[in-house]
Every structure is written in structure tokens, then in C-alpha cells.
């Protein structure tokens, strides 16, 4: 296969995942929330099981006027949704779907790359919060930045634990080194990573930055139309990325009950779907954490737990 063809196929595949998976997660969220909370609205549009609700939402967003407040810092305000989306697109590039380089771009330091680019997302929060020239937006942005910076620490520490266990920073290498008993050995790191990941994408119960009952919609307050849709899309791509990372790092990625070589992609997708389901489930079942509880959880529970896991990982690695 010529190089350019391979490149086109790889980039096309990543783009397709970037465009399709978040919509699937969004559709799943409508349905799961509707069932769990007895919501009638999402079950109505289009007849059977409300299948057209997501499409209706999309049409609504496109029709809405794209407002920019007069007092806003226009270029920064308009750029923020793009800055929110691009890091997740880049992260999807290196997450392996299956064995034998079934990945957008195999990278030796894939794990490090993912953590670095996902960390850039906090800039979008600060940009949108500041440029809106709205005090609710600013409060939401400051909360968001404090949360993202704080939770990046346990996220990176938990990921470091599994990288240490596998002895590589390559995401494919970590999946290859993964064995079922790691589910127990790396369990604390998995919980820490998952919770910190939830906080990184500001999903409930960590949605204090966009708490609608006190901050209108936090740093998203002034957005409307397509830009708002892009910021929402960033949240759903974030779910996919965090679910995929949890899968690849802690759940064995493409390793399944049988036929790993042929059906690896299916096992990965199934695991990503299951983790995404848990993320949606947490949204409908947990109340929002208060700001002080949120910081307390990060610094007094997750960071020490991640550090203890690092010690445990190192001890087991040395003993084996």
C-alpha cells in the first residue's frame, strides 16, 4: 500500500471515530437518562423510542443565531470552541483500537502525548470564561481551571503507575503487557484515573464549573448556536477519550475472551461503550459535589491514593 493511501485511511478513520463516537455517546445519554429518570421528552421525537431526538437537537443548534456579546473579547471568544475540540481530536489519533498498529498514528510515547494534549483543554475553559465578559462565566472558568489543574495530578500519577507496570509509554505496548490480574493490582489506579478523568471533562458529579443552579451555565453561559454545539461536542469527545484511555490503560484494550487478533477492535469498542455507559450512569445517579468537597476529594483522597499505588506498583515490579 502506498504511503499516502495509508495516511489517508488512517486520518479518515480517526476523523470518522471523532465524528461518530461522540454522537453515539450523546444518543446513548439521551436514552439512558430517559430510562433511568423517567424523562418523557427524549422518547418522543420521530416515533420509535425517540430515535430522532439527537438529529432534532442538531438542527436546532444550526438554526440558532451565533451570538457574540458586545463586551466580549471577540477573537478569543470565537476561538475557544476550536481550542476545546482540537486536543481531543489529537488524543484520538494515538489511542489503539486493535493489535498490529490498528491506530491512527503509533507513537512511542503515546501515553505522554495524550496526557500533554488533554491538559491543553483547560486553556479553552479559561479563554471562553474570560472572553465572555460575564461574571458567571468568569466564576465558572476560575472554578474549572482550579479543578482541571488539581485533577491533572492524580490523572498523571495513576497513568504513571500503569506505565511503570508495563515498562513502556506506548499505549499499544501497555495493552500488550496487560494481564487480567492487573485488574486487581492496578485497581486503585483505575479508580483514581477514572474519577480524575471525569473531573477533567467536567462531567457530573464534577460539574461545579457549569453548575446551572448557581452559575447559569458557567463558562458556557454566553455561547449559543454552533459554537455552543461544538463546546458540547467537546464534552462528548472527552467522554470517548477518557473511556478509551481507561480501557487501554486498565481494562486490557483489545484483549478479549477469544480471537484477539481478528476481533480486537470489537473488544475495545465494547469496553469503551461500557465505560461510557458508567459515565452517563454516574451523571443521573450522583448529586453534584460542592467546590470544597471537590478539591478535598482531589487533594486528600485521590492524590495520596495515586501515590500509594505508585509505591505498590514499584514494589511489585521489583519483587517480580
Amino acid at each position: 500500500m502506498p504511503l499516502w493511501l495509508e495516511l489517508v485511511i488512517r486520518i479518515g478513520g480517526v476523523l470518522a471515530a471523532f465524528l461518530i463516537l461522540p454522537l453515539l455517546v450523546g444518543q446513548a445519554e439521551h436514552k439512558v437518562m430517559a430510562h433511568m429518570q423517567g424523562r418523557l421528552g427524549p422518547m418522543y421525537a420521530g416515533g420509535f423510542h425517540g430515535w430522532a431526538q439527537l438529529i432534532a437537537d442538531g438542527v436546532k443548534f444550526v438554526q440558532k443565531e451565533d451570538l457574540t456579546p458586545r463586551a466580549a473579547d471577540r477573537p478569543v471568544f470565537r476561538l475557544a470552541p476550536a481550542v476545546a475540540l482540537v486536543p481531543y481530536l489529537l488524543a484520538l489519533l494515538v489511542i489503539p483500537l486493535g493489535p498490529n498498529d490498528l491506530v491512527g498514528q503509533p507513537l512511542d510515547i503515546g501515553l505522554f502525548f495524550v496526557l500533554a494534549v488533554v491538559g491543553v483543554g483547560v486553556l479553552a475553559v479559561l479563554m471562553s470564561a474570560w472572553a465572555s465578559a460575564n461574571k458567571y462565566s468568569l466564576l465558572g472558568g476560575v472554578r474549572g481551571a482550579a479543578q482541571l489543574l488539581g485533577y491533572e495530578l492524580p490523572l498523571v500519577l495513576a497513568a504513571a503507575s500503569v506505565a511503570m507496570a508495563a515498562g513502556t509509554l506506548s499505549l499499544s505496548g501497555i495493552v500488550e503487557a496487560w494481564q487480567p490480574w492487573w485488574l486487581i493490582w492496578q485497581a486503585p489506579a483505575m479508580v483514581v484515573f477514572f474519577l480524575a478523568g471525569l473531573a477533567e471533562i467536567r462531567r457530573p458529579p464534577f460539574d461545579m464549573p457549569v453548575a446551572d443552579s448557581e452559575l447559569v451555565f458557567g463558562y458556557l453561559t454566553e455561547y449559543s448556536g454552533l459554537r455552543f454545539a461544538f463546546l458540547l461536542l467537546a464534552e462528548y469527545v472527552g467522554i470517548v477519550v477518557i473511556a478509551a484511555l481507561t480501557t487501554v490503560l486498565f481494562l486490557g484494550g483489545w484483549q478479549g475472551p477469544f480471537a484477539d487478533a481478528q476481533l480486537g477492535w470489537l473488544w475495545t469498542l465494547l469496553k469503551v461503550a461500557a465505560v461510557s455507559f458508567v459515565i452517563i450512569w454516574l451523571r443521573v445517579s450522583y448529586p453534584r459535589l460542592r467546590e470544597d468537597q471537590l478539591q478535598r476529594l482531589c487533594w486528600l483522597v485521590l492524590v495520596p491514593a495515586a501515590l500509594a499505588q505508585l509505591v505498590l506498583t514499584a514494589a511489585v515490579r521489583l519483587a517480580l
Binding site: D73, F112, F113, L115, A116, V117, L126, L138, A146, G150
Partner: protein, 185 residues
Amino acid sequence: MTGVDALLLALGALAVGSAVLVVTTRHLVRAGLYLVVCLGAVAGMYLVLTAELVAWVQVLIYVGAVVVLLLFAVMLTRAPVGASDDLDRPGWPAALIGGGVGLGLAALLVDAYRWTTVELPEAGSAERIGAQVFGSWVLPFEVLSVLLLSALVGAIVLSRPDIGSAGADRSAGDGPATEDRERSR
């Protein structure tokens, strides 16, 4: 001139241009955002020079944490959304020092290397850097870690009036403020 050279020059121009904007813009927050562009361009130059790990460390630490802390601190002040016209910036001494150091370093490097070409070492993979850091450079590495640890402890002591001088200012606060903890990273 190869494609790599052109890319390197373009990134360098981007870095210098955005750095000039950082110090000349009247918008405080935009200055921080230009700094992001500048540091990102430097990361891009590392990438072109095949120092992959260093490039992503640059993104993770400088773009993802240091500039964000800077913006965070600016947003806690009364900085306006628009331009601030009352900025107090002595331009000439800064231009003199900045330009002088830049030109001096450039002249020094040009004079030192002339047209000698240097073979790039093999790609700066994580493995190679790890072996170097924990092999021949382990002493500086450990000294740096002690420095960072003492900075961390110092930040905690400064931000908590209830420890340190015993009993004094016990009512000043019931715990460290969030941003102080952030800074202690």
C-alpha cells in the same frame, strides 16, 4: 534549504513574533495567550529536531500548567476584558536588554559554529532520555528534585498561617486557598 529547515525557520519566526506580541499587546489576558503560541512554537521546534519527549514535556508543563496558572492569576485580578491603557511599561530599557541579549547570543552562536554541520543524534526517545537522566545526570536530577521539594514545602508554609509561627494568626483562615495549593505544584 530543506523542508525541515524551512519549518524550523517558520516556527522560529512564529515564536519570536508571538513573543514580541506578549510584551507589546495592551490586552493582559491576550498576552498570556500569545505566550501559549510562543511556547507551542518552541515545542514545535523540538519536534522538528526529533526531540519528541522534550516537545511534549514542553506542552504538558509550560502550555498546560505554567501559562494556565499565569492566566488564572490574571483572572483573579481586576484586569479588564478590553485593552488596559494605563499599563506602566518602560519600553526602551527592556528593548535594549532583550535585543542586546538576543543579538549577542545569536552573534556568539554564529561565530562559534560558522558553517560546521552537526549530525543530529538519534531521536530523543523516552528510553534514551530516561537512561541519560538516571545514568550520567542522576546527581543534578536529584539536586533539582530537592530544590522543587523545598519550594513545595515553602509554598505550603507561606500559604498556611496556622503553621509556622505557633499560635499567631490562627484565625486568618481555616485552610489553604485553592489557588495557593495550585501554585505549590
